[in-house]
Symmetry: C2
Subunit: 257 residues, 2 copies
DNA sequence: AACGGAGTTTGATAATATAAAACGAAAAGG
DNA sequence: CCTTTTCGTTTTATATTATCAAACTCCGTT
């Protein structure tokens, strides 16, 4: 049995704070743990030494310390989207035979940070590192649609709606209407707005802060697309995005209260 | 000496992950800790049992676990606004002689959760627990102005712009324009829109997630208010709000990287 | 096939975590 | 106002258990 008792006990003590009260007396802890208060005292002092525990100087009670918050931020910070997303994207690509892209927003453009090639031959030219405007791509729309008014305003200030195909959206009013629709539907579509003959569907990925931090997309030759297909693809993308988001901390809440 | 060695060692191991690499091999850890790898193994397994550590199944390396993030959220969640804000509000009240309010958003209304009476007699009726509409109060405007489009839309859906005074804003268009102005200026004003003869200035408080979670306000009889006074009050409120926000974790980042 | 490097398991012994009792201080209660 | 209880802390002895070393397994490499 490789479990070390004193460490185990220390960690169980930390658990107590969100199972019961956020501030606990030594006496309560020792009762709950079936340990002598002197033992609990030593454990608490050790935890306190590393700021996992703080003592309320007014009433002597103990509570969880700020170190946990710092450490928690560190964990989240080091969860990188690309490696977390990889296996999910591969799964989706295997299932559908299509190429899946992973894109983040950098300034006013999307940047492809990963792609998983499907078995079906793709007509789409894509390359990791390639940049793509937000106004004429599904991923771009998905990336900006859920921004706050302030952030969106900053992105659209002096934005140049360069026309890529006859279908490209070329003014702010139409683009804002389009983004409204993305918010309503939960997914974005590019209907030959970037490349003639290619349609693309994208959904956002969110992290622990609930902000959209990336988008995934699936591209199709336009002749293979119809209303039903769009809906199906969007659902699959949503499911995949949800799994990735969850693994990135989306929806993870404090364990109680 | 109340420090328990094995717990101390376990916690020092956790520290290693943000001092060096975010993924470490047992061998590296044992070298860094001057402990046998079998000892480290036991410690890691104990930490892993509580999800403080996760093992990368691909390469056997260990990294910090999600429990730290959950626990960190819990810590932040339990930092309650009211007690953190108290001393700052008292300071500001002492300095200005005015009554300061602390308000949070609950559904479509603000709720007064604390007030600090100033020495100057207040004409304003207020009470902790009292609710106030968002469309006719400075605090209400400050609370909703920085919401995302989605959240704001949810609040304003079927919103009733009940008129409290002749100056009350009574339609969505004007209210949205007003919120734009709040975002631009960084503070909100209520110019006799809720109570005749009373003007109120408010600024938002943000927490670690950078979301607005509360607002503080100062009320004045309208005859004591002019452009210069508004600016001065807004600056003082902003400074106070900034201090409270910081203490609530706003701007606190992961301990390294 | 043998080697080196990884993580894991086992078992003996020496280190140390635990509990009991005593202490001091503060709150509760008559 | 003094007593009593209740709290956190300190001390010390003994028995638990954390530690180390060695052996083991499972890779990938030579």
């Amino acid at each position: 049995m490789p479990i070390i008792q004193s460490v185990d006990r220390a960690l169980r003590i930390l658990d107590l704070f969100d199972e019961y009260e956020s501030e606990l007396k030594i006496t309560d802890i020792s009762a709950r743990m079936n340990l002598h208060k002197s033992t609990v005292h030593s454990l608490l002092k050790t935890l306190q030494h590393y700021n996992y525990i703080e003592q309320n100087i007014e009433n002597g009670k103990y509570k969880l310390g700020m170190k946990l918050f710092e450490r928690g931020n560190f964990v989240i910070h080091n969860l990188d989207i690309r490696s977390v997303a990889k296996k999910h994207l591969m799964e989706l690509s295997m299932k559908t035979g299509n190429t899946i892209h992973l894109v983040i927003l950098d300034g006013k453009e999307g940047v492809y940070i990963d792609k998983v090639e499907g078995s079906a031959a793709t007509i789409l030219y894509s390359r990791i590192g390639r940049r793509i405007p937000v106004h004429c791509s599904a991923v771009g729309k998905a990336l900006v649609a859920f921004k706050s008014q302030e952030e969106l305003a900053a992105i659209l200030k002096d934005y140049e709606y360069i026309s890529q195909t006859p279908k490209t959206i070329t003014n702010e009013e139409d683009f804002l209407t389009e983004l409204n629709n993305v918010r309503k539907e939960g997914f974005a579509v590019d209907n030959q707005e970037n490349e003639a003959g290619v349609s693309c569907i994208s959904v956002p990925i969110r992290d622990h802060s609930e902000h959209v931090i990336a988008a995934i997309s699936m591209s199709q030759p336009v002749h293979r697309i119809n209303k039903k297909a769009v809906k199906e693809i969007a659902e699959m993308l949503k499911a995949t995005a949800e799994n990735i988001s969850r693994e990135l901390g989306f929806g993870v809440k404090a364990s109680s209260i």
